[in-house]
């Protein structure tokens, strides 16, 4: 199916009315991606407790279709909830590469944004954006679940703006065929 996404913009190029086809497809694709952002069950530190609270009864992220999946293969979003330690950096990169495209990263909390209270520690990576690309940053130590809620809304806004004519979801890796991800 990813193939269709990649081929569609090329195939309809020059055809009159192609733009309408593409934008109509965009509406449905973005709508579905927006309401089905599944994060990996993956917590690092204090923020993970707030992330759990966000899935639990009072904040209930299931309302927006955010449903945690244990395996990165079935996930769309990775919420980096907590301090990224140098020893953990390697597994994080690996999990990121195990996720299928399109994938998003939310950096939750000061530690994941920039090192937070551990800005001068010898064993902390000063910001997860040094190792993987980040879509949304959430400030706070730890951020309240409402802040994470706002981050998901922001991510939905970002997804809404994706256009298949600009290569949304069709990634360089997908064009080359199945990725060589050692598991």
């Amino acid at each position: 199916m990813g193939v269709i996404l990649e081929r569609l913009p090329g195939a309809v190029k020059g055809v009159p009315g192609a733009g309408v086809v593409l934008t109509t497809a965009d509406v449905f694709i973005d709508w579905s991606r927006k309401y089905s952002l599944w994060p990996v069950t993956f917590g690092l530190a204090c923020c993970a407790i707030e992330m759990m609270a966000a899935y639990a009864s009072r904040f209930d992220f299931d309302r927006m279709g955010v449903m945690p999946r244990p395996s990165p293969r079935q996930a769309d979003v990775m919420i980096i909830a907590g301090t990224v330690v140098k020893k953990m950096a390697e597994p994080i990169i690996r999990i990121y590469h195990q996720m299928p495209e399109p994938r998003f990263v939310i950096s939750m909390g000061s530690c994941a944004n920039c090192g937070g209270p551990y800005y001068d520690s010898y064993s902390v990576v000063k910001g997860v954006d040094r190792i993987i690309p980040v879509d949304v940053y959430v400030a706070g130590c730890p951020p309240r679940p409402e802040a994470l809620f706002y981050a998901v809304l922001k991510l939905q806004e970002k997804v809404q703006k994706m256009r298949i004519s600009k290569g949304a979801g069709a990634t360089p890796q997908a064009e080359k065929g199945p990725r060589n991800v050692a598991a």
Binding site: M1, S32, Y35, S57, D62, M64, R73, G169, A183
Partner: protein, 427 residues
């Protein structure tokens, strides 16, 4: 929102801020004092009443539907006989009509399975949410997240198909197909109402139980081909579990077959029509003592066959990440999911056909509602039971699971057959 978080009011008399926020204890003290609870209750009553009304109306219409069905049958038969007489190649048009008719049935069944996947996942998410004092999907599509699973499906279709580098490519690709195809095939003789089935098979009961056992091969293939230890463990556990629970499951059906004397699902359904003393339904679940026992055994074994909690060892989230599905992404994973829910639906239909009277109404005067509505209602009630158990119970350990099967279920299923034999002396 305004009800939950009212504006702060400063009271000069008390010298402090009055309640700024409704404390949960206050909110739950008396639900009936809250307007949203009254609204919800009203809505629920309306939905139930509406379904009944529609059922009655459709029940009137269904007579015309039966007429249409009979017309189609006679039409096909007529084509078979008459067309060759007019010089057409022997049987050509008749075959064409058959093929069209069969394709139509296949499309209906595939649609049923797909719609069931969409509906059941949404229902399960809403149901679990309400059991856990949450709301579940709310925003997708507007009203109570009705579009949630449809959107999930579209997203999954468009996900990248990631495959581990060291995976056994062909087997990895084939496994979801091997899982989903038997799920579709098994629906062929399933009764959706009185005599409403895609294929009329004399050995319907046997066919369903046999074909649904094939899927385990796909699960083992998935576990093996993923080149992941968790997948392998999940696949092997699933194979062991499904194969062993097959035995008590089939033995639990034997009493029903003994009562009826036929493997045809329509005959089984027919045998449960009618009422004792004019009002008490003659469903097999009420044929004490073998009937209720067989029902329980079949229910438990079905839970295990469909890998639901408390028997969801193969995909135990906290132990094996996602079991045999760990390395599957996008639509391949969705196919596994779809097959799981198709089997749940199949088990629910089997439960209602074998034990709950199929399309029979629970009380004589309710027979005005058509049989397919009763069938569906019973199947959905069973599905509710499945979900209720899923969100209540913890999970067995794998050796306890096997113990439970071989030391508890299997002896009792034998006993059940014996009881049925004794009962047959009086019936």
């Amino acid at each position: 929102m305004s009800e939950l978080y009212p504006k702060p009011v400063f009271s000069k008399k008390a010298g402090r801020l009055l309640k700024t926020r409704l404390w949960p204890t206050e909110r739950w003290a008396s639900p009936w004092s809250q307007p949203q609870y009254r609204r919800s209750a009203g809505m629920l009553a309306g939905i139930i009443f509406g379904i009944l009304l529609v059922g009655v109306v459709v029940g009137e219409l269904s007579k015309w539907g039966d007429l249409l069905y009979r017309l189609l049958l006679t039409g096909t038969a007529w084509l078979h006989q008459t067309l060759p007489a007019y010089g057409a190649p022997a049987g050509f048009l008749g075959d064409a009509a058959d093929i069209t008719w069969i394709s139509f049935k296949v499309i209906v069944i595939v649609a049923v399975i797909n719609l069931n996947g969409l509906w059941a996942v949404w229902w399960e998410r809403k149901l679990s949410a309400h059991m856990q004092s949450r709301l579940g999907p709310m925003y997708a599509g507007g009203f109570h997240g009705w579009a949630q699973t449809a959107l999930d499906a579209v997203k999954l279709l468009l996900k990248e198909d990631a495959r581990p580098a060291d995976a056994d490519g062909a087997v990895h690709r084939l496994a979801p197909v091997v899982v989903i195809v038997p799920a579709v095939l098994a629906f062929a003789p399933v009764l959706f109402g009185k005599e409403l089935a895609a294929a009329k098979l004399d050995v319907g009961a046997l066919y369903v139980l046999a074909v649904s056992g094939v899927s385990v091969i796909g699960i083992v293939m998935a576990g093996w081909a993923s080149n992941n230890k968790f997948s392998l463990l999940g696949g092997l556990r699933s194979a062991a579990q499904v194969v062993s629970y097959e035995i008590p499951r089939i033995f639990a059906v034997v009493p029903v077959l003994m009562f009826v004397g036929s493997l045809d699902l329509a005959v089984i359904d027919q045998a449960q029509q009618g009422y004792w003393w004019g009002f008490f339904p003659r469903w097999f679940v009420f044929w004490f003592p073998a009937g209720p026992l067989a029902f329980l055994l079949f229910l438990i074994a079905s839970l295990a066959e469909t890998n639901r909690v408390p028997f969801d060892i193969p995909e135990a989230e906290s132990e094996l990440v996602a079991g045999f599905m760990t390395e599957y992404s996008g639509m391949k994973w969705a196919l596994f999911f779809l097959a799981e829910y198709a089997y749940v639906l199949l088990a629910c239909f089997m439960l209602s056909v074998f034990f709950l009277g199929g399309g029979a109404a629970p009380l004589p005067f309710l027979a005005i509602v058509p049989s397919w509505i009763w069938m569906l209602a019973k199947a959905l009630a069973m599905m509710f039971l499945f979900m209720w158990l899923r969100w209540t119970l913890p999970r067995f350990r794998v050796d306890q699971l096997m113990d439970f099967n071989w030391k508890f279920l299997l002896p009792w299923s034998f006993a059940c057959v014996g009881l049925a034999g004794i009962m047959l002396l009086w019936i």
